[in-house]
Amino acid sequence: MKRVYGKPDAMTDVPFPYCPGCSHGTIHRLIAEVIDELEIADRAIGITSAGCSVRNWRQFDCDMVMALHGRGPAVATGLKRAQPETVIFTYQGDGDMAAIGTGEIVHAASRCERITVIYVNNGVFGATGGQQAPTTLIGQFSTSYPTGRDPRTSGYPLKMAEMLARVSPESYIARVSIHNVKNIIKAKKAIRQAFLVQIEDRGFGLAEVLAACPTNWRLEPVRCMQKIKSDVIPYYPLGEFSSQSLKAQ
């Protein structure tokens, strides 16, 4: 029998440190598969963010740098400009990129910096115990707002992909989801494009991936996948938001 699917080479043998059913693992695997397919493991440098995924430097079999909370795009900019032949990607959660790191990501996008950002939107601060994030849906439970998000006090959930596409004329920016097999395949294509736009020096690449945090959503993993479809995607529509010329061919 022939192995048709299995752990990609760009991923180490260290088991993931995440909770059962956590989407971080799925997204890590897609990134590792893309690194393998593009044959960039020897020149890729990943940047970890603060949050549950801070431990992912042990998961990827390529160079990794740890940035301060939210500062991934700034570190990525420095690395890429100093060594243009490298392929730089940041891995950032919504707490990291859409909260404390909003300044860094907006300016990196507006500079059309040749970097790739994998932005994981699970709607909560997972690592610190499920507090409300800028991306938490209206009415959604969180430990800091147990009665649900109220726009009168907390405003509206930030749509980062749409917002960044407005300020980044040379970019590939897409929102994808991993709630079923079809969408996982689409998510991988978007991650691949976000890398290619950097490698081909065409612009800034960002893939926003809608993800689940079963622990802080207080839901079983299967129910989380259903919730992404029923509750999350209606607010965060999937698709490509970059300027016309850079949409995936």
Partner: protein
């Protein structure tokens, strides 16, 4: 034409028993083991007489990359 034959291997060190593969398998080929391991987790395993087709859906949804999928090589194609 009979369906392709597949087989899966689940890495017990990576599986956390989240149940996504059981949910996604179109052939109902995966179940959980009866006994919890020393982490307290009932990991996934192949169901008896599993009619796995090697579609790879379980590999796709597994958040822990715990599953490898094998397929019988289809060298002898059925004549027309």
């Amino acid at each position: 034409m009979s369906k392709a034959k597949g087989q899966i291997a689940i890495n017990p060190a990576r599986c956390k028993g989240c149940g996504l593969c059981i949910w996604v398998c179109p052939q109902k080929s995966i179940k959980t083991v009866d006994e919890a391991d020393r982490r307290g987790i009932r990991i996934a395993c192949c169901a008896e007489n599993a009619p796995c087709t090697g579609c790879g859906f379980c590999y796709m949804v597994c958040p822990d990359t715990a599953i490898a999928v094998y397929k019988e090589s289809t060298t002898e194609e059925p004549a027309d």
